[in-house]
């Protein structure tokens, strides 16, 4: 057991670091430029992406023929570690590069690959994912947005939701129903959608924490050229699975939020009757529990990295990362607010640490929902790691149009 790089990994790290040192010193965006609701922030990210693309650092795991580096998973991890020393990663390209690009590589036509992959890689064209619907969340195959053929084109009507970055995306990956008489998974097709098409309306969703990172997207007789179909008609679920598998592989194994060390510091600096909160046995017990889970998660990440370093493919056990990290982040934020007692309800500039823990408290529910809810992740662990049977499906074998979905019964 050791935590050092192999000679090959060390050489790769040195190469990455040396390029970053030469090109990235001024690359850290300012606080204002961290918010992707600001067009200037988007432009700043695009410039950095293009600079990386020209040097072969834009998306390491892509094959070289598409402008990637053909790097293995551990090299990708090393690159991310090194890049994060220079920049906080708010990667607006990750949906395209991590999920949609690989789907096009696997299922797309040669023309689609030639047209889309390079601008995606360079950050010139940003992509969003149009999967979830108001009536189809965890059960995403229950989607109702419909595409009907019209000559060589398709005409799309319906609505998507929770679309991150819809307002700055040039293209979207859309899954829509093309045969409502088929059973649920068999009547879906996968399309590339031009987000500038007439008939698309984007409405930002206001979140409970005040942000608006994602939107509702409405389609009103939107025309999609036939050449933008990915894979075969009614074979879109298979393409969607490719996207979702890549999403799982890109989920992190870190605790969401400010971290257990910051929480221990908060306890140390919080007045508590005649001493500090760190003297209180109840506080100490909770802190110990948070520390143990945080470290358990961090070291589980080391175990995965070791497996990846030896050539393993990230598997479903990677679901542990978010399943543990997201609720832990929420519990820690909630506890940090409690530690402040009556002052805990104060947020913003007058709050301790300018309200960082209150902000974390308000933002943390999202992490337990996005990219697979806690409940879906437990199903993944139960079914794919432990090999337990999947849930009995009430809609099995039914034509889609017969299935009650969402709250529409």
């Amino acid at each position: 057991m050791d935590f050092t790089d192999t000679p090959e990994e060390a050489a790769f790290r040195a190469e990455a670091r040396s390029w970053l040192e030469a090109n990235a010193p001024q690359a850290q965006p300012t606080g204002r430029l961290m918010s992707m609701e600001d067009p200037e922030a988007v432009k700043e990210q695009q410039d950095w992406q293009a600079l990386k693309a020209d040097a072969g650092w834009a998306c390491l795991t892509w094959p070289e023929e598409y402008g990637g580096r053909g790097a293995n998973a551990i090299q990708n991890v090393i690159w991310n570690q090194e890049e994060s020393r220079f920049r906080t990663r708010v990667n607006i390209f990750s949906i395209g590069l991590g999920m949609l690009g690989p789907t096009i590589m696997t299922h797309g036509t040669e023309a689609q690959k030639a047209r889309h992959l390079r601008p995606m890689l360079r950050g010139e064209e940003i992509w969003c994912q149009l999967f979830s619907e108001p009536g189809a969340g965890s059960d995403v195959a229950g989607l109702r947005t419909q595409c009907v053929p019209d000559g060589d084109d398709w005409v799309c009507n319906g609505q998507k939701i929770w679309t991150s970055g819809a307002h700055y995306s040039r293209w979207g990956a859309l899954v829509a129903r093309t045969d409502p008489d088929a059973v649920k998974h068999a009547g879906i097709s996968y399309f590339i959608l031009d987000m500038e098409s007439p008939g698309i309306e984007i409405r930002p969703i206001q979140q409970i924490d005040g942000g608006a990172g994602f939107s509702e997207v409405f389609f009103n007789d939107v025309r999609i050229p036939g050449e933008n179909l990915v894979g075969s008609i009614n074979d879109g679920w298979r393409c969607a699975i490719t996207t979702l598998m890549n999403e799982r592989a890109s989920l992190g194994t870190s605790v969401q939020g400010l971290g257990v060390e910051a929480l221990i510091e908060l306890a140390r600096n919080t007045n508590w009757q005649d001493g500090t909160a760190l003297d209180d046995p109840g506080v100490r017990r909770r802190l110990a529990d948070f520390f143990i889970r945080s470290k358990g998660l961090q070291y589980t990440g080391y175990r995965s990295l070791t497996a990846i370093s030896r050539g393993a493919t990230p598997g479903p056990e990677g679901s542990i990362g978010k399943l543990v990290g997201a609720p832990l982040g929420q519990e820690m934020a909630s506890f940090a607010v409690d530690l402040q007692e009556e002052s805990g309800a104060v947020r913003g500039a007058d709050a301790a640490l300018e309200g960082a823990w209150q902000a974390s408290y308000m933002g943390s529910p999202a992490m337990r929902l996005a990219g697979g809810t806690d409940e879906i992740l437990r199903n993944i662990v139960a079914e794919r790691v432990l090999g337990l049977p999947s849930e009995m499906r009430a809609d099995k074998g039914m034509a889609f149009r017969e299935i009650p979905t969402g709250s529409d019964r």
Binding site: T4, I264, F291, R293, Y299, L305, A382, P389
Partner: protein, 366 residues
């Protein structure tokens, strides 16, 4: 990044697993549980022959000369098998104590006999119900004799050598006592897990000798307990893993409402949570083993995290194996209670999970 055991180490682990599958079935644990014995002497001799009892003892003293990583994997397998042997008392505690603080002469005197299994060792800190403190002990050592009572002492009725934490003057020392010496009385206690014995050891001017310098008892005991806690964590994780496997099999085989009960999310999600608890504990235990192996100063916090996580995971597994078996889980006939008993016994040996959480925060806050 190489946060894993080596191929050689894994081979040793597999050999141990295969060996125990043959020689230490749950039936053996049950046999001891239902008899007057408190361990299986046959299995003890076999593990000695396999070289496990002297795993970390240098070859010059009759051991295998392995490091703590190999011993951790053996502990994991002993844990999986719920083996009815005093492995933790004799190996992680008595043997490790001698190697930590013994003089060359003391090591030469005892290590070969511990490695061969002819001598069983144990360790005693607790004197009464409640949390023990090395600075408030009643057992006294006067330089060559020991007086006082230790309660309870794991495997005390089969041990020939005990490492005792005792008061010496105004401070604390580690002391060794041969348990067949005059002035030592041993009384067997009823154990929550009768496959592992507990005893009351009383000393009335019993001949004893110091282990380490006078007054270093607190520091040595802390260090010894960190090492033992790390190894014990592997034993606990082994037990938890086995309980999960048995529970999973049962839920797949058992039908209710026309379907396997393993298809109900009410159970699937809890099995997933148990799996996650075991994996987080395992990762913490790996880190502690790495710190132990490399002598890293982080062992102090890593051992606490590993131990508390492993205690919680095994206890959770012990509760869930009974709950998910339903009524039969509460019968003597089914094996579920073997895990429920062993999980609690191992949790309180070396101190509860809460004790280790408190120790963790003391060290983080220092």
């Amino acid at each position: 990044m190489n946060f894993d055991f080596s191929e050689d180490q894994k081979l040793l682990q597999q050999t141990a697993r295969d060996y125990l599958a043959e020689h230490s079935s749950l039936d053996l644990m049950r046999e001891v549980l239902e008899s007057d014995a408190t361990y299986s002497d046959t299995l003890w001799k076999r593990t000695a022959e396999m070289g496990w009892l002297g795993a970390t003892i240098p070859e010059e003293h009759g051991g295998a000369g392995f490091g703590p990583l190999e011993l951790a994997l053996l502990a994991h397998e002993v844990g999986r098998a719920l083996s009815p042997i005093p492995f933790s008392s004799s190996v992680y505690l008595a043997t490790e104590a001698l190697m930590l603080a013994g003089t060359p002469e003391q090591c030469a005197r005892y290590l070969p006999r511990l490695a061969s299994g002819e001598l069983i060792g144990t360790f005693a800190l607790s004197e009464r119900p409640g949390r023990a403190s090395t600075s408030h002990l009643e057992t006294q050592f006067n330089g060559n004799q020991l007086t006082g009572t230790k309660f309870p002492v794991s495997d005390g009725q089969i041990a020939g050598l005990a490492i005792i934490v005792a008061r010496e003057g105004e401070s604390t020392s580690l002391v060794m006592v041969e348990l067949d010496a005059p002035g030592v009385t041993c009384e067997s206690l009823e154990s929550l897990d009768p496959s592992r014995g507990l005893a009351r050891l009383s000393f009335a001017n019993a001949p004893a000798e110091r282990l380490g310098e006078a007054g270093t008892g607190t520091r040595l005991a802390d260090s010894l307990l960190d090492r033992a806690a790390t190894l014990m964590a592997f034993e606990q994780i082994g037990g938890a893993e086995r309980a999960l496997e048995i529970t999973r099999e049962y839920c797949l085989d058992r039908y209710a409402f026309g379907r396997p009960i393993a298809s109900f999310q009410a159970l699937k999600h809890r099995l997933a949570d148990l799996y996650v608890a075991i994996e987080l504990a395992r990762s913490n235990a790996y880190y502690a083993a790495w710190a132990l192996d490399t002598g890293n100063a982080e062992l102090g916090t890593a051992a606490c995290a590993a131990r508390a996580a492993a205690s919680d995971a095994f206890e959770l597994a012990g509760r869930e194996i009974i709950q998910m078996h339903g009524g039969v889980g509460f019968t003597w006939e089914y094996d579920c209670h073997l895990f429920y008993r062993r999980a609690k016994l191992l949790s309180v040996a070396l101190g509860s999970a809460d004790l280790w959480r408190e120790k963790l925060i003391q060290r983080l806050a220092a």
